[in-house]
Each structure stands twice: as structure tokens, then as C-alpha cells.
């Protein structure tokens, strides 16, 4: 037999596949790693928040109205002063109306009863670490809880959209023919309507549907974004499958007798998964931003919950009266997360498909 002439690498351990090579490249990318750490940090915080270990009491009104952040404690706070002043009204003696007041005989009894009930009067703080909102809620805790809403929506909706888009794209791209035509028709229907309008239409309907009322809040937003957001991934996956199905390795798989299912998911999918991963990541970023806007408009998380979007909605009116910390907290933390996530996505894409820049 002809001898081995081409030089072979001497090592005999398992050679790196795509993922391990990509992993190595990613680790060497400093910007990518820093971004990954930042994203991880956010994820840890929202996991803690979801389990209630931090910020579970974000709704408690612990501060005075528009409490100043600790670092500018000295700033004038007219709203808090007004609120305190209002409380003090109780000290002003009332005009005696007992002659005409039908309830007058009972006041003494009620007064006595009230005194017997223990009321823990929470001393409202003058300042909070990053300030308070109109009701005196701690901005830091709100930001954390808000992060939870926005990020959970972003990630889960991205997975949902990626799942649908990949499934549809694989079927349409691989089979072509009338299956492909059907999915193309479906895709055309969804994309004939401008995206924002589609989302709003779904939001309008889902919000008012009695059947879907049980899903109100975060699950609903996830549903809306997932059901409308699959089209981008579909397009890409379909193109990839169309490209790969006529590649020789798939032909070879057919020649050795592989079934359609095997060809689609065991042969082709591993070659497409890196594209899907990058899309997933990009969509997560987009959905986080979309959730913020939806919550801002009131179509997102319910009233008793908080999201960066609701914080920005409140912040809108606060800026005029000089209270900028809620805007800063929500805006900045969102900016940091999205920047880190975007850079991580870019690094991931470059690691999976390196091109000499």
C-alpha cells in the first residue's frame, strides 16, 4: 500500500473541533472576555433577584419622596419637605366642630382603640444609596429587579424565537418544494406588516384577551416577542440549509443511506449552529431593548412589577424637577449591559468565524 507521505501532526490526543477552537480564540480576545464577565455579573445578580435573595423588597417605600442619593445628600428636596410638612399637619389642632359633628361622641373611643394597635412606624430615610423615586422606593433595588424583568424577557424570548426560526428554516431550506413554499408564504405574511406594528397588534390583542389574561406580565411579553421575532433567524437558517443541502458531504450522506432526519439534524445542524448562536445573542440584545420600550408604553410588565422601561417612564417627568437619578440608574445599567452583551456577541461571532480584519 502507498505509504503515508503527507506529514501528520505528531500528537495523538483528540483534536479540537469547531467549538474548542472557537473557545480558545474567545479566551484570547480581551475585549470579549471583559464583556463576558460583565454579562455574567448581570446574570448572577438577576438569578439572585429571581430567587428573592436580593431586592425582593424593592416595592417598599423606605425613603422620603424623591430621596436624594447619598452622594448629594445636601441637595434641596422640596418634595420630601412637602410630604413631611403634610404629616405634620396632624399636630395642628382641629377646629372644634363637636357641636355639629354627628360622629363626635365616638372620637374618644376610636382614639383609644387606635392607640392599642401596634403600628410600627418606619422611619423614612432622608437619603438612599442612589436615591429614591416619587414614592420613596430604593432606586438600586428597583434597578436590580428591573434588570431581572428585562433580561429574562430578552433571553427567553430569544430562545423561543431561535427555536421557531431554526425549526421553520431547517424544514423550509432542506425540503424546498411545497413545504418551502408554505413557510415562505407564512414568512411573507409576517413580514408584510412592519415589525413594530405587528408587535403592537399582538400586544393589543393579547392584553385584552380574557383567555390570555392568565399570562399577563413577563410571560406575555415573552410570548409576543417570541411569536413575532422568529423571521430574521428563519431567513438565515433557511439560506444556510439551502446552501448546505447541495454540498457534497450531504450528498455523500445520502449516498451512504442517511435518512432525511439524520441529514437535517445530525449532519447539517452542527454546521449551522454557530450561526444560530450568534443570532440568538443578537436577538437577546434587541429583545431587551424592545421590552424596555414596551414596558415604557405600558404594554409590558404589569403595574405591580418593575422594569427598566417603567423606570424610564417615571423618569420622564422627574427630569424637569431636577431628579435625574432614576433616569441615570436605568439608562446607565441598561447601557452597560447592552454594550457588554453586544461586544460579547461580536467576539463570539469573530471566534466562530474568524476573518483577518
Amino acid at each position: 500500500m502507498s505509504a503515508v507521505l503527507d506529514t501528520m501532526p505528531q500528537t495523538s490526543e483528540v483534536s479540537p473541533g469547531l467549538w474548542r477552537l472557537a473557545g480558545r480564540r474567545l479566551l484570547k480576545d480581551r475585549v470579549g472576555m471583559v464583556s463576558a464577565v460583565v454579562v455574567l455579573f448581570f446574570l448572577l445578580i438577576i438569578i439572585a433577584s429571581a430567587f428573592g435573595w436580593v431586592a425582593a423588597d424593592w416595592g417598599r417605600e423606605v425613603g422620603v419622596s424623591y430621596a436624594n442619593p447619598s452622594f448629594i445628600a445636601g441637595q434641596e428636596n422640596l418634595e420630601a419637605q412637602t410630604m413631611n410638612a403634610a404629616k405634620k399637619k396632624d399636630d395642628v389642632p382641629l377646629t372644634d366642630l363637636s357641636a355639629v359633628d354627628p360622629l363626635a361622641p365616638w372620637y374618644a373611643e376610636w382614639e383609644a382603640r387606635t392607640k392599642r394597635i401596634e403600628v410600627t412606624q418606619v422611619e423614612r430615610a432622608e437619603t438612599l444609596p442612589f436615591g429614591g423615586d416619587k414614592w420613596g422606593r430604593d432606586i438600586v433595588k428597583k434597578t436590580i429587579k428591573g434588570a431581572q424583568s428585562s433580561i429574562v424577557v430578552g433571553l427567553v424570548a430569544a430562545f423561543a424565537a431561535a427555536f421557531l426560526g431554526t425549526l421553520f428554516g431547517a424544514l423550509a431550506g432542506y425540503f424546498g418544494g411545497w413545504i418551502g413554499d408554505f413557510f415562505e408564504w407564512f414568512y411573507n405574511v409576517f413580514t408584510s406588516i412592519p415589525y413594530i406594528l405587528l408587535v403592537l397588534a399582538f400586544a393589543a390583542v393579547f392584553a385584552s384577551s380574557p383567555f390570555l389574561a392568565q399570562f399577563r406580565g413577563v410571560p406575555m411579553v415573552i410570548l409576543i416577542l417570541g411569536v413575532t421575532g422568529w423571521t430574521g433567524i428563519y431567513r438565515l437558517v433557511r439560506a444556510e440549509y439551502m446552501k448546505h443541502r447541495s454540498r457534497e458531504y450531504v450528498r455523500a450522506a445520502e449516498a451512504i443511506g442517511a435518512s432525511h432526519g439524520r441529514r437535517m439534524f445530525i449532519q447539517i445542524l452542527p454546521n449551522v449552529s454557530h450561526v444560530v448562536l450568534v443570532q440568538l445573542s443578537q436577538h437577546a440584545v434587541g429583545f431587551i431593548k424592545a421590552e424596555v420600550i414596551l414596558s415604557f408604553l405600558g404594554f409590558g410588565v404589569p403595574i405591580d412589577s418593575v422594569s427598566w422601561g417603567t423606570m424610564l417612564a417615571e423618569a420622564q417627568n422627574e427630569l424637569i424637577i431636577g431628579k435625574w437619578w432614576q433616569l441615570a440608574a436605568a439608562g446607565a445599567s441598561m447601557a452597560v449591559l447592552v454594550t457588554a452583551f453586544s461586544m460579547f456577541t461580536d467576539a463570539l461571532r469573530d471566534a466562530l468565524d474568524p476573518k483577518l480584519k
Partner: protein
Amino acid sequence: MTAYLIRRLWQMIPTLAGVVLLLFFLFNWVGGDPAQVLAGKISNPEQIANIRKQLGVDLPYWQQLLIFLKQIVTFDFGRSWSTNEEVSHIFLTRVGPSLTIMVPLLILQTVFGVLFAIGVAYVRGSLTDRIIMIVCTVAMSISFLVYIIVGQYVFGFVLGWFPVQGWSDSFGKNLVTYAPLPILLALFVSVAPTLRLYRSFFLDEISQDYVRTARAKGLTEKTVMLRHVMRNAMIPILTDVAIALPGLMIGSFLLEKFFSIPGLGREVITAVGRSDFPVIKAVTVYLAVFTMFINLAVDLLYKWIDPRVEFK
């Protein structure tokens, strides 16, 4: 070419049917009985009864579908559930303001996007390139909301360069006084993603073989970029612009909301808040049709810009 045109028009029908079915499914089936939907929002029982009669809520589904179809064809969606204004009137009067903002915005966005992208592509790989890309990424991660809130505050309230909100009846006054601030803010937000996208188009073209040939002919780098690369990159750029066209009509609902511009976007947002289905349905159907025709026009335009395209 006529055969192509006819085939495309023919193919629009199933898509349009699909859109109608989707909306019908959403609004009539999932959306549910207007009585429940409007329960907290309209207190007049007579009005609700009227609406139910109009929609034919008690009729079997296929009859409801026919009613819907008739509405589409006759451009008569009845009246808004909340304001009682005729939906067709709403549509016609609100499109103008939306376009007044969006058309200049699209033009400026494309022009700036192309200029910056060429510039960045020219210095590709350099420190400037990387810094600009990072700035873009950061710019894109700040929510549009923050830009508008801060922008409105700084430029309108504090500096007073522009009115904080408002709209007038005169087109000229709108364009010059009321439109600039919203357009400017939207431009800030959209330049970054546009720049990134167009830069990638240019870079894809630069790595093609014909660029090497152009250099081998002795052309200057500037000529190679502005003549050879640009002409090829315009193809995906125009596609991108074309995709944005249907969105022009609906406008930027955030801008319209913040700046009190009586455009179609704000109308839709208000309608969603009030569960005002007729308005949403009408706007969606007409925009879908509009989108399909725009797509067809763009495909025809393609032949003019890309000689490789064949009509089959």
C-alpha cells in the same frame, strides 16, 4: 417582464389572504368579545351593543370574516371605538405628519450612513476604525428613550433651541420648527447601526477579486473605493433603504408620543392602550398592502441597479 409582473401580482394574493386571516384570527378570535375587551373602557352600554352588532360578534365565524373582507375592500372600517372618528379619516390625516418626520430622517440617515461608512472603510483596521466601532456599539446600547428624554430636556427645555413639543397646521412651519429636534434625536440613534451595517457591506466588497483587478490596473485607492466598490455596495444599501420604506408611514411612535406629533404611530399606540381594534386593524391591513407593493417596486428597481438580475 410583463410575465414577471403578472406572476408577482398573482403571488401577492395568497400573502394578502394570509394577512387578512392572521388579523382576523387575532382580533376576532383571540381578541374576544368587544364587550369584555371594552368592559372597563367604555361605559355606554348602547355603544358597546352597536359595536358588537357591527362586528357581528354573535354570528358564526365565517360570516364575521366576510364582514371583515367587505370592510377592507370598501375602505370602511367604521369608527374608532373610543373617539368615534371615522377610521379612514384618521388614517388619511395622520399619515402626513408621520411622513414629514420620516422622509427627511431616512434621507439624512442614508446619506450620513454612506458617507461615514465609506470613510471608516477607507481607514479599515486602523485605530480610528476600532474606536468608531466601539463608540457605535455604546451609542446603540443606550435606549432610544433615554436619548429622547435627555435630548428633549437639554435642547428643548434647557437650551431652548427647539420647541419641546408641538405641531402646527402648516407644512413649512412643521418642517422648520417642529420637526428638527425629533429628526435630530432619531438621527443620533440610527446613525450608529446604519454605519455598522453599511461598513460591513463595503468591507465585503473590498475583499472581492474585482477590486484586486482594479488595483492591478493602476487606479488610485480613492477611485477604487468611490467608483468600483461603491457601485457594488449600493446594491445591498438600497435593499436596506427599501426595507425601511414601509415603516415610514407608521412613523416613529416614540417620537410622536414624546413630541405630541399627530402622526399614525401615536394613533396606533393610543389605540392599543384603549383596545381600539378598528384603528389597529385598518392600519395593519393597509400597511401590509403597501409593503407588498413597495417590495414589488423595489424588485423591479433591482434590475436597474444590478445587471445580473434576471426576471423569470
